[in-house]
Structures are given as structure tokens and as C-alpha cells.
């Protein structure tokens, strides 16, 4: 490891903040990846509780079943870095006010589940928070077919996209593909925050 370069990275990231909409398979894994890299502040919004069926891909543990996802995730994040600044909101994102949690972050992650909500969130953030880059994902179901997944950059909108994936109610969700796409999102966030090289 290049210690000097790593030091530069840590210094830049400690002053950076990321907002995460949804703390499911994408959101929980993005958060963990970012805290390990040294992000200074996270804002996480989710309405749900941890269920047994989430443990096959989401960053929660058996003894957290029944807890609010935002509380469980905060607990797991603080076990990695107790010094991180973290704001969590146990709220369901509702059209018109979805963007309000994310006004002061550097990058926003769309980590929602439902296709309609995902689309509405992108539309609202791009309309109200025009300067803030958003990193989204579409097509996280299934496994394999890795060469089908693309990263598409459309200005301030970055999308990890598997156009041949099925909706989640018609397919399975697996840890490898979900975590892969979540970490791909985290990787793009680093590129946005750090530039091409440091």
C-alpha cells in the first residue's frame, strides 16, 4: 500500500458526505463499503425493519431481526468506525419531500427497491438538487452474466444497469450480484469525490 496516497484519500474522504436512500441490499452494502474507505459523514433514510429473509444479501445479522434497518445499520457502521458522523431517518420517502434529507451531501445513492419509487426519486433529486450527483442502479436480480452489467454516465446521473434483469418479484436476489452492484456504486462515488487520481 502506498501510505502517502492512502493518507491523501483518507483526508479527502473525512470531509465528504454521502446520502443513501434505502438501507436494503444496495444501501446497507454501499454504507459498509464507504465507512471502510473512510467517508466522514453518512445520511441514511429507510422505513423498514430487518427480516430473516434479508440476511441472504443485506448487511445485517441474525440478532438484528426485528430492529429498524436504520438503527441496525448505524450499529454495524459504528462497529467499524465509531468516529463517523451519521444521521439516520426512519421514514418512508414520499414524493415531493424525498429530496429534503439530502440537501447538504456531496453525492446521493439511489438504493431503493420499487421501480416506480426509484424513478420518482431520480426525477425529484435531478429537479430539486441539480448540482448533486446521483448514483443509481437498475437490474440487481439474478446471478452471473456479469458482462451484461454496464455503468452508464449521463451527466450528474450515474447508473449501474443490467437491462436484461427481471423485476425482483419475478426473480431471486443473491448476495454476490447485489453486493457487487452496491460496491460498484461505492466505487463510482469514490471517483466522483476524489477525481480520477489522487
Amino acid at each position: 500500500m502506498n501510505n502517502k496516497k492512502n493518507e491523501t484519500l483518507r483526508k479527502k474522504l473525512i470531509n465528504s458526505s454521502v446520502g443513501i436512500a434505502g438501507a436494503g441490499g444496495l444501501g446497507s452494502n454501499v454504507a459498509i463499503s464507504l465507512v471502510r474507505t473512510g467517508i466522514g459523514r453518512l445520511v441514511i433514510v429507510d422505513f423498514d425493519t430487518v427480516e430473516e429473509s434479508n440476511l441472504n444479501r443485506q448487511y445485517y445479522f441474525k440478532n438484528q431481526v426485528g430492529k429498524l434497518k436504520v438503527d441496525a445499520l448505524k450499529e454495524n457502521i459504528l462497529r467499524i468506525n465509531p468516529k463517523i458522523k451519521i444521521d439516520v431517518f426512519n421514514e418512508r420517502l414520499v414524493k415531493g419531500t424525498m429530496h429534503k434529507y439530502f440537501k447538504d451531501v456531496d453525492v446521493i445513492v439511489e438504493a431503493l427497491d420499487n421501480a416506480e419509487t426509484k424513478t420518482s426519486f431520480i426525477e425529484e433529486v435531478m429537479d430539486k438538487l441539480t448540482e448533486i450527483p446521483i448514483v443509481s442502479a437498475s437490474g440487481v436480480t439474478g446471478y452471473g452474466n456479469i458482462d451484461r452489467i454496464k455503468s452508464i454516465n449521463m451527466g450528474n446521473l450515474h447508473m449501474i444497469y443490467d437491462k436484461n434483469a427481471k423485476d425482483s418479484d419475478k426473480d431471486i436476489l443473491t448476495a454476490p450480484k447485489v453486493a457487487l452492484i452496491a460496491n460498484w456504486q461505492a466505487n463510482i462515488i469514490l471517483e466522483i469525490l476524489l477525481g480520477e487520481d489522487i
Binding site: E110, A115, T119, E123, D127, S138, G139, V140, I152, D169
Partner: protein
């Protein structure tokens, strides 16, 4: 000529985004569309005309996350 997801597509005069998506057989209900870098909301699909030489991205949002 217009470009839809980097594919060359014939330009049609006065074609709306809604009509273009139909012509491209993009039938999914939740699509994120950008024309020359600007987002077009779903509620504006039937009023927004696609200009000639446009670069269009149309990404359909799939449930799961």
C-alpha cells in the same frame, strides 16, 4: 438522425418522447429519459418533442435493491 442509447435511429418531425419510446418498443412503465443531458420527467413525455440530432438515453428502472 437521432441517437437512442448510442444507436442510430431515424429522426421523425414533431415526434414526442412518448411516441419515440413506443416506436423503439420501450414499453416499460418506469423509464428515465435524458435528451442531450437534460432529464425529461415521465409526466412530460407526451409534450416533449425530440429534436433532430438528439442524443437520448432511455434507461428502464427494474425493481430490486
Amino acid at each position: 438522425m437521432i441517437y437512442v442509447n448510442d444507436k442510430k435511429v431515424e429522426f421523425l418531425e414533431n415526434e414526442t418522447v412518448k411516441e419515440l419510446l413506443k416506436r423503439m418498443k420501450y414499453t416499460f412503465p418506469n423509464i428515465v429519459v435524458k435528451i442531450n443531458g437534460n432529464l425529461v420527467k415521465r409526466s412530460d413525455f407526451s409534450e416533449t418533442i425530440v429534436p433532430d440530432k438528439s442524443k437520448i438515453s432511455a434507461i428502464h428502472m427494474i425493481s430490486g435493491g
